[in-house]
Amino acid sequence: MTTPIPVAVVGGYLGAGKTTLVNHVLRHAQGMRLAVLVNDFGSLPIDAGLIESQASDVISLAGGCICCSFGSDLMGTLMALSDRVPVPDHVLIETSGVAIPGSVVRSVALLSSFRVRRVVVVVDAKSIIEQAADRYVGSTIERQLRDANLVVLNKIDLVSTDATEPLHAWLAFAAPGVERRETTHGMIPLEALFADGHNPQPRGLAEMDDADAHFESEAFVPDGPVDVAALAGALLACDVVRAKGVLLDLDGALKVLQVASGRHVVTPCERTGRPVTGLVCIALRGRMDRARLRDAFALAMRPAMPRRLSHDPGLS
């Protein structure tokens, strides 16, 4: 198995500056063979001097970079890309203004020859807060931000100094814990887009629009170690559709517990310091069995106590 090709997904609403950023990256490819995937060429005014040859859906650029338009067929375009000789060093996918980056990430993950490293969401620093309040696209923009692991505040020069702080405060709420970079004209260095160690975790609740209307949640804040594996299994039995949290396991290690798509995953916690432990569980409205869930929490808190198994000697 060859090493997967690293991918950066560049999302964000129309006018945020995605194309400018992509153009900047193409001009500063530093000898790397980049493959840039765009919805259509119409929005990508590539410098004519860079173009070596052009077919209907692939433009070859000087220096070994290519541009592909994927239209409605991102998967087909990616599959064709992995067959190219030589394979590109990096792939950059510019999504449409209403695409949900997390969906793109999960689709790319279906292809084992690619690995998404970065989910960049570009925002127009001057108008993002206003756009996010729009009745039609507001929820889409919120979803986009929740999926990011790098938020690029483009056109920052248009924002007054006074307005910068509230903007960051707003983003800290819209995309909590996510790295932010201020810039103008999409000038983001290549290494920021493909840096290692930034495997995106599409935020578990990203696709849950208007969450309050459809879902309810229950939080669990334990005051001691928890049998994480046992709890994980119990959550599924309580109709929990999503759960995510950091918990102190019986072995004294911090673990990340996630539940999604009817599966649970427990991984070591990479965070250093002393993260707050706790777990949030989400279920479809009306489907959450809180009593059972609290029992599961309680049981996981005192796993050392021998369970009464007298009714079932086969298990003892």
Binding site: D40, S43, V98, A109, L110, Y136, S139, A213, H214, S261
Partner: protein
């Protein structure tokens, strides 16, 4: 030479002369309609009495379908309801997963020795109890050959283990909303949405490029039109690459090709300005039987796929709101440019929030002006409410409603997607007519079978597959329903000066029926038999369409 056709009855859809007994045709055009004596003025004429015992209507106009209805018949049909293939063979519906498996097993045994894929279409698992149609089910047919069964909606593909393996998806650790996992952590084999479907599709015989441009499929589509009484149809989401246009122009231009097709170029892969330029170029390639120049925009997804955009209270089962497939800016700009260039735009909007966006963008594109007779049409508009119909009227928009949904997915909509109140006002034909919005109904074939008379029955009866009436007050009369499959859709395609009714000057396009849709009971409308068609004066018996 003039030919006069006597008929048991001619339903002209011309309100000034709704009923006639004879129609006279010369060079593919209607030159007279009325009683025999009234046509004496035309002089020498040949009397062709083959329709003397038949009922003649204007040829049906299917204003929203896809020519893949013809292409799919190269695959095995595994739908729930009986369906007639292009050669007239009735394929019995598969009433259980076992019946699906049996049909595929038969196909496997008749093609023994091949290791090629087994491909099927029309699968409709909502009618089955149990867990749908998974790879475990399909593995019963074969574990060696890749198998794929496309669902009726077109949005889901069921595949077997071999197909998943070939696509690299028979593994654990997949996290994708369109790839549900089983208890073993492996995909169940039911793939939802374009990405996972594309990945596996080419391994099970569903290659996108192949489907886009298929000569045999186009001819089969023509035969299906004859069987359904359709003389003008559409290909509503085409990308119309040059080679596809050349092929379609050639095939539709063949002397025996029985139907006129209007193809709309979809907003995809190019920005609005380039699309409008391309549409103008395409318009110049129009022929008599291939009409080009219209534009199609897809705003949201489907209601049963939970990808349509809904206003509150949203999906009945609590599913998150759907997806936008176009930006508001691109939508508005396309409307502006199309209006400036006299191009017609057909906009797919299923959910009420998507409809609302279309209305807002169209209003903005008009910018206070009145643009006469643009006939831009909202396609599907399944959840349109009364206020939205009134806004359509005010903006000069037409609507093409998906009446068949009430039968095919009405129970699903009632119980799962939108709940009983909204299920009973989906595809609200009566409200559209009350608001005086020019209205058509469509089948969206291959999503539902290409049968306009069945669609008319749905609009008249609003009966779900289990016989429940969904929304009595939205039922319309038989005459209104017949108009919604003739003159109504002709109007939404800007072809009402040529087709849609039987009157002098219009094209001699007829649906020839064995029964009289006005005389049969409303409940029997769907059983009205089609003898065939006359298209541009050329006679096409369905029985000979092989």
């Amino acid at each position: 030479m003039i030919t006069i056709y006597p008929a048991a009855r001619i339903l002209t859809m011309d309100e000034r002369r709704p009923i006639a007994s004879h129609v006279a045709v010369r060079d593919g055009r209607i030159v007279g309609v009325g009683e025999r004596e009234a046509l004496d003025r035309l002089g020498n004429a040949v009397i062709d009495a083959r329709f003397a015992q038949k009922v003649v209507m204007p040829g049906f106009v299917e204003a929203h379908c896809h020519i893949t209805e013809g292409t799919y018949w190269r695959y095995a049909y595994v739908g729930y309801f009986d369906r007639i293939d292009p050669l007239g063979r009735v394929w019995r519906g598969c009433e259980s997963v076992d019946a699906v498996i049996a049909r595929l097993a038969e196909l496997d045994s008749t093609s023994k020795g091949s290791d090629g894929p087994l491909s099927a279409w029309g699968l409709d698992t909502i009618h089955y109890t149990g867990s749908g149609c998974t790879r475990v089910d399909l593995d019963r047919v074969s574990k060696e050959r890749p198998i794929g069964a496309l669902h009726a909606s077109g949005h889901t593909l069921s595949v077997n283990s071999r197909a998943l393996q070939l696509a690299g998806l028979l593994r654990t650790g997949i996290d994708h909303p369109g790839v549900p996992l089983g208890d073993d952590g492996l995909p169940t084999g039911e793939l939802r949405g374009p990405e996972p479907m594309t990945l596996v599709g080419s391994h099970v015989g569903f290659d996108r490029n192949l489907l886009a441009c298929d000569e045999a499929g186009l001819r089969a589509f023509g035969r299906l039109c004859v069987r359904a009484g359709v003389t003008t149809a559409t290909d509503m989401a085409s990308l119309l690459a040059s080679e596809a246009v050349d092929l379609m122009r050639r095939v539709t231009g063949e002397p025996g090709f029985p139907v006129r097709i209007l193809c709309a170029r979809r907003l995809q892969g190019m920005p609005p300005a380039a699309l409008v330029a391309r549409a103008l170029e395409l318009r110049g390639f129009s022929t008599d039987r291939m009409r080009l120049g219209a534009i199609k925009i897809v705003v949201d997804g489907s209601i049963q796929g939970f990808t349509a955009r809904l206003l509150p209270p949203g999906y009945f089962n609590g599913a998150p709101n759907g997806l936008w497939y176009v930006t508001r800016e691109a939508l508005t700009e396309t409307f502006e440019l199309a209006l400036a260039n006299d191009l017609q735009v057909h906009t797919h909007a299923n959910g009420d929030e998507a409809i609302e966006l279309v209305l807002d963008c169209f209003e903005r594109a008009l910018d206070g002006r009145t643009v006469d007779d643009h006939r831009c049409t909202i396609q599907h508009a399944q959840l349109a409410g009364d206020g939205q119909f009134r806004r359509m009227r005010a903006l000069g928009l037409c609507v093409n409603l998906f009446a068949n949904h009430i039968f095919h997915w009405g129970e699903e909509h009632r119980a799962v997607t939108v709940g009983p109140e909204r299920a009973s006002r989906m595809n609200a034909c009566a409200s559209a007519l009350d608001a005086a919005v020019p209205m058509a109904i469509h089948t969206d074939a291959p999503v539902t079978p290409l049968r306009p008379l069945f669609g008319a029955w749905c609009a008249v009866n609003r009966q779900s597959a289990v016989g429940r009436i969904l929304g009595e007050t939205e039922r319309i009369g038989v005459a209104q329903a017949l108009r919604a499959i003739t003159l109504g859709p002709a109007y939404t395609l800007r072809l009402d000066d040529e087709i849609g009714s039987i009157e002098p000057g219009k094209r001699a396009d007829f649906a020839i029926l064995e029964d009289d849709p006005i005389q049969v009971s409303a409940a029997d409308l769907r059983n009205v038999r089609v003898w065939g068609t006359v298209q541009d004066g050329r006679v096409f018996p369905a029985g000979a369409a092989s």
